[in-house]
C-alpha cells in the first residue's frame, strides 16, 4: 500500500475514534448531566432508574438521529459539490429546506398532521420536488455557483411567501412550525429514527458507490466518457442520492444549513480530491460536527438549549464567507 493510503486509513480510524468520543459525550451532556459509568449502566444494564431512562429514551434516539442526519448531510453536500462542480453547494442553501417547510405547513394546516412522525413524509416530498426544481432552474449541468445559490434563494422566497400566508391565517400552524423551522435534534424518538434510517441507508450506499464515476466526472463530461463513465446515469443517480439523504435529514430534524458545505471542504484539505476517500471521511466526520454542535448548543444554554440548526449557522456562516473571500473563489 502506498504511504499516502496508509496515512489515509490511519486518519479514518482516528476520525472514527473521534466519533466514538462525541457519541459518548452526547450520551452524557445535557440538561441532566449523566456520568459515563451511569451511561454504561443505562445502555447495558437497564434497570429503570432515572438516569437509565434519560439515557435510553432521550439521549440514545437523539444521538442516533444525529449520526444519521450528520452522515446524510455530509454525504449529500459532498455529492452535490461533486455533481455541480461547485464548491458552495449545500443542501440547506438551495431551497430544499423551504420546500420541506412549505410541504410541512400544508400538512399541518390543511390535513391536520400534528406529530413529527407525520411531518416526515411531507418534508420528504417537499424536499424531493424542490431539489429537482432548483437543480433544473440553476442551469442543470452548466450551473454556476451564483446561479444555483440564486435559484435556491428565489425558490425559498416564493415558498416563504406561501408559508407566511398560511401561518398568518392559522396560529396553530405557526406555533408548530416555529419549532420545526429552526432545525433541532431535541424531538428525536425511536419512531422517527426508524422512519428515516432506511432512506439514509439507501442514500449512503448509493453515494459511496458513486465515488468512482463522480471522480471521473470531475474531469468534465468528455473525459469521463473516455474513461468509461456514463455521465447522465451518474448524474441521475447522484441526484437521487442527494434527494434521499437531504430529504431524510431535513424531514427528521428540520432545516440544518452549512453542515453539508463545511465538511467536504475540511475533509478535502487532508485527503485530497479523491472522492473514494472524501466520501467515507465525510460520512464519519459530518456526524462529529453535527453532534458536536448539538452538544455545544446543549452546554451553553443549560438548562435550556440552543437548537443545532442555530449553532451550525452561526459556526458555518463565517466559514462560508471565508471560502467566498478566498482569492480562488472570487473568480468563479
Amino acid at each position: 500500500m502506498p504511504r499516502r493510503n496508509v496515512r489515509r486509513v490511519v486518519g479514518l480510524f482516528v476520525s472514527a475514534g473521534l466519533l466514538l468520543l462525541v457519541v459518548a459525550a452526547s450520551f452524557a451532556v445535557g440538561a441532566k448531566q449523566v456520568p459515563l459509568d451511569q451511561v454504561w449502566h443505562g445502555l447495558f444494564h437497564y434497570s429503570g432508574k432515572e438516569t437509565d431512562v434519560v439515557v435510553r429514551d432521550v439521549r440514545v434516539p437523539r444521538t442516533l438521529l444525529g449520526l444519521l442526519a450528520g452522515a446524510a448531510l455530509g454525504l449529500a453536500g459532498t455529492v452535490m459539490q461533486a455533481l455541480t462542480r461547485n464548491p458552495l453547494a449545500d443542501p440547506g442553501l438551495f431551497g430544499i429546506s423551504a420546500g420541506a417547510a412549505a410541504a410541512v405547513v400544508s400538512g399541518i394546516s390543511f390535513l391536520g398532521v400534528t406529530s413529527l412522525d407525520g411531518y416526515v413524509w411531507f418534508a420528504f416530498a417537499g424536499a424531493a420536488v424542490v431539489s429537482a426544481v432548483v437543480y433544473v432552474l440553476g442551469g442543470g449541468r452548466g450551473a454556476s455557483p451564483v446561479r444555483l445559490a440564486l435559484a435556491g434563494t428565489a425558490v425559498t422566497a416564493a415558498l416563504n411567501g406561501y408559508v407566511f400566508a398560511v401561518e398568518l391565517t392559522d396560529s396553530a400552524a405557526l406555533d408548530r412550525m416555529r419549532f420545526w423551522t429552526v432545525g433541532s435534534l431535541a424531538s428525536a424518538n425511536a419512531t422517527v429514527v426508524g422512519q428515516v434510517a432506511p432512506f439514509v441507508g439507501a442514500g449512503v450506499v448509493l453515494a459511496l458507490a458513486l465515488a468512482r464515476p463522480l471522480n471521473a466526472m470531475a474531469l468534465g463530461d468528455d473525459q469521463a466518457r473516455a474513461l468509461g463513465t456514463r455521465p447522465t446515469p451518474t448524474r441521475v443517480l447522484g441526484l437521487a442520492a442527494v434527494t434521499l439523504l437531504c430529504g431524510a435529514a431535513t424531514a427528521a430534524c428540520g432545516p440544518v444549513v452549512f453542515v453539508g458545505l463545511m465538511v467536504p471542504h475540511a475533509v478535502r484539505s487532508f485527503t485530497g480530491p479523491d472522492l473514494r476517500w472524501v466520501l467515507p471521511y465525510a460520512a464519519v466526520l459530518a456526524p462529529v460536527l453535527l453532534l458536536g454542535t448539538d452538544i455545544l448548543g446543549r452546554a451553553v444554554a443549560r438548562p435550556s438549549e440552543l437548537q443545532v440548526g442555530v449553532v451550525t449557522a452561526l459556526v458555518g456562516g463565517p466559514v462560508f464567507i471565508h471560502l467566498v473571500r478566498r482569492r480562488r473563489m472570487a473568480r468563479l
Binding site: 411567501g161 391565517t169 396560529s171 405557526l174 416555529r178 432545525g183 442555530v310 464567507i321 473571500r325
Partner: protein, 346 residues
C-alpha cells in the same frame, strides 16, 4: 419612434441631454401612482368613490369622510408610496454597484438584518411599535455595514458581494428562527406579521420620519446618478472618465442602506420591491444605465398597486401586502434567472 429618442437642449453656455422616453415613462408612472392612490384611499370598509376622495382631499368632504381619508387611509397610502420609492432606489443602487440584477437588498440579507433587530425588540424587550422601528433601523444599518466590510477586498467584486450577502442572510435567518422559538405565541404572531411586511394601520407618525429621510437622501443619491452610470462600465473606465470611484460608491451605498433600513422600519421587510422595480424601470425606459427617478416611481406604483390588489384579493386587512409581493417577486426572480440564462448573462 424617433420622437422618443433622447434630445439635447442647448442654450448659450449650457446644454442638457433629455431622454424623452424616460421623461414620458416617469410622467406616466406618476399619473398611474396617483390614480391608484386615489382608488386605494377609497377602498375599505367605508368605500368612497374616486370623486368623493378627491373632493375630500381638497377640503370639501363631510366630517366622517374627512376623518376616514385624512386620519386613516391617507397616511397608509403615503407610507406605501414612500416605502416603494425608497426600496426601489436602494435596489437600483445595489444592483448597479454589484453589477448584477439579483444583487438587491432583500437577497443580500438587509431585510433579514432589520428583522433580527425588530424581533429582538419584540421578543426580548416587548417594545412598542416605535421601539420596533428603531430596532429594525439599527439592525438594517449594522447588517449593511457588515456585508460591505466582509465583501470588501481591494474593491467590491459583484459575485462576492452577492455570495457574502446570501451567507449573511442564512445566518440571520437562523437567528430569527431561534428568536421565534423563544417568544410566546402572541409575540411570535406579532413578529411573523412584522416579518411579512404590512401597511395595515400606518399613521402620520410613520409618514413624517420617512418623509424626512427621503427628503435628505434622495437628492444626495440623485447627485451620484452620473457617477453610478459610469461605474457600470467598470472601475477603470469610470476612473478614466473622472469619477471618484471609492467616494461615489460609498456615498451611494450608504444612502441605499439608509433608505432600505428606513423603509423597512416603517413597513417591515416588504419582499422584492427593491429587486423588481429597478429592473422593470430599466425595461420601460430602455435606458442603458440605472435610471433612479424612474426606478423610484416604479417602486411607488408597484407598492400601492400591490396593496390595493392584496386588499381586493384577500379581503380588507386579512393578509398583508408582503405576502403578495413575496410570492409574485419569487416567481419574478425565477423568470429573471431563466431569461438571464437564455441571454447568457449570469
Amino acid at each position: 419612434m424617433s420622437v422618443l429618442r433622447s434630445r439635447v437642449l442647448r442654450t448659450q453656455g449650457l446644454s442638457v441631454r433629455v431622454e424623452v422616453r424616460a421623461v414620458l415613462v416617469v410622467l406616466l408612472l406618476v399619473a398611474v401612482a396617483l390614480a391608484v392612490s386615489v382608488v386605494l384611499v377609497g377602498t375599505g370598509d367605508y368605500p368612497l368613490s374616486p370623486a368623493e376622495v378627491v373632493r375630500t382631499l381638497t377640503g370639501g368632504g363631510t366630517a366622517a369622510q374627512e376623518f376616514v381619508v385624512n386620519e386613516l387611509r391617507l397616511p397608509r397610502v403615503l407610507v406605501a408610496l414612500l416605502v416603494g420609492a425608497a426600496l426601489a432606489l436602494s435596489g437600483a443602487v445595489f444592483q448597479s454597484v454589484s453589477r448584477n440584477p439579483l444583487g438587491s437588498p432583500d437577497v443580500l440579507g438587509l431585510g433579514q438584518g432589520s428583522t433580527v433587530g425588530a424581533l429582538l425588540v419584540i421578543v426580548l424587550l416587548k417594545g412598542d411599535p416605535a421601539a420596533v422601528a428603531a430596532g429594525a433601523l439599527a439592525g438594517g444599518l449594522l447588517t449593511g455595514a457588515a456585508i460591505y466590510l466582509l465583501a470588501w477586498q481591494k474593491g467590491v467584486h459583484g459575485h462576492r458581494f452577492v455570495l457574502v450577502g446570501i451567507a449573511t442572510s442564512a445566518i440571520l435567518v437562523s437567528v430569527i428562527g431561534y428568536l421565534l422559538t423563544k417568544a410566546d405565541l402572541t409575540d411570535a404572531a406579532r413578529a411573523t406579521l412584522w416579518m411579512v411586511g404590512s401597511l395595515n394601520g400606518r399613521d402620520w407618525s410613520q409618514v413624517w420620519p420617512l418623509l424626512c429621510v427621503c427628503a435628505v437622501l434622495v437628492p444626495v443619491l440623485l447627485g451620484q446618478a452620473r457617477g453610478l452610470r459610469m461605474l457600470e462600465m467598470g472601475e477603470d473606465a469610470a476612473h478614466a472618465l473622472g469619477v471618484r470611484v471609492g467616494r461615489t460608491r460609498l456615498t451611494a451605498l450608504t444612502c441605499a442602506v439608509l433608505l432600505a433600513a428606513g423603509a423597512t422600519a416603517a413597513a417591515g421587510p416588504i419582499a422584492f420591491v427593491a429587486l423588481s422595480a429597478p429592473q422593470i424601470a430599466r425595461r420601460l425606459t430602455r435606458s442603458p444605465g440605472p435610471c433612479l427617478v424612474a426606478a423610484a416611481c416604479t417602486g411607488a406604483t408597484l407598492l400601492v398597486t400591490a396593496d390595493w390588489a392584496a386588499q381586493r384579493l384577500f379581503g380588507a386587512d386579512r393578509l398583508p401586502v408582503g405576502v403578495l409581493t413575496g410570492m409574485l417577486g419569487g416567481c419574478y426572480l425565477l423568470w429573471l434567472l431563466y431569461a438571464e440564462r437564455k441571454g447568457g448573462r449570469v
